[in-house]
Amino acid sequence: MSDRQSILDTVSAQIEPFNKKGVAITEATTFQHDLEWDSLTVMDFVAAIEDEFDIIITMNMQAEIETVGQLVDAVSKLKG
């Protein structure tokens, strides 16, 4: 399993507790429109991802991330 695939799997697993609508997760899934997360949910989720990968996703970076795929890319880069 590639590193990217493993990050995607972990991110998808982290999404589940917040996935109240049971949306099927793909790399194209958007947090705001598909998952319909409000700002508080986003905050809890980001904190969970940061702790899982031991990274910091600054609010500046978060503003650029709209889809699951973009988040996986950002995590890959931050894990470096």
Partner: protein, 424 residues
Amino acid sequence: MTETGLQPEALSLDPAPVAAANVPGRDLMSKFDPLIAERQKLLDSGVIDPFAIVMERVLSPTEAVISGRETILLGTYNYMGMTFDPDVIAAGKAALDQFGSGTNGSRMLNGTFRDHVDAEAALREFYGTSGAIVFSTGYQANLGIISTLAAKGEYVILDADSHASIYDGCALGNAEVVRFRHNSVEDLDKRLGRLPREPGKLVVLEGVYSMLGDIAPLKEMVAVAKKHGAMVLVDEAHSMGFFGPNGRGVYEDQGLGDQVDFVVGTFSKSVGTVGGFCVSNHPKFEAVRLACRPYIFTASLPPSVVATAATSIRKLRHAHDKRAQLWANARQLHGGLTELGFRLGTATADSAIVAVILEDQEQAVAMWQALLEAGLYVNVARPPATPAGTFLLRCSLCAEHTSAQLDTVIGMFADAGRAVGAIG
């Protein structure tokens, strides 16, 4: 993943359809349609508009006339009841007579008068610091200080429940912004530990968080910040005058007098007028005046305002009786509402804010209206301003509330709470 934090409502922005040549441009105001619809729905349900209250007359720090009715005020930030203090009023009138109604200028150019300098002197005396800078509002103090202190490539680390002015200070500046879970020392420690060692870091905390009235564990948080080499700013807007031996705030109460680098505060709460400030012992603090845009590019406060502020601050230093009365009032209200069975934001009377947590917007607004019609004003607060999606009726005490007034207030809460089913 658009992130707005505890800020004004995020609006869904559906992309405009591709415009044909003869189609008029998109109406910029259309983005407010969801907000307009939500407000209309609330008003259609027959309630009074909570955001259109007018104080027709103000009778005292604790009473006003609203819709022709004498109303007890339990939702102002007039904690120390200084707004009608005779010395404060006299100072304002004298300044109005001597210096006129306004300054017509920025602090940096022609807008610094005798009483701006005097208000800064009063702040240095009150906080025991070498530096004090007065801003035109508390909001602008946070906006200016945060955006100026932390530059591109540096970090601001803030509590997730921070006030909008702190978030907006970050948005105005160019630093990287990192959040930690509300009041979690462990979370702050972890996040600071993940940041690169070299860049400058500013940890921004609040003494009292204004929605629930809870207190920050500043002692532990400041220790963690120092361990990681970060500087610390504490916003003490909701604690000035009644926390700590000299009334400086929660940081003083927790014995951190010499460990906090910057304290931000406001004149619009305990001081009883309008304005904001930052105090510091940093030897280069004055340089902020030369670089801070929300200080430079705005008009300074009117002379009467800074004169009232200076007089009020000097009186607050010795306002021991008011301080004791305010705490007694907070305990009386917190105890009374707890006894009635309300769910409150804090387990004990930790601050001068008592937040009543309700089920949903309908219940919160219905109860707010029942209280108003009975002659009591409190603040109604809703997400995203509130933490964890809660709907609150926020009560803030004043040192001038009498015990008898608070008995009346508790009785009104009992009736209104039963009427809307918030208590049994």
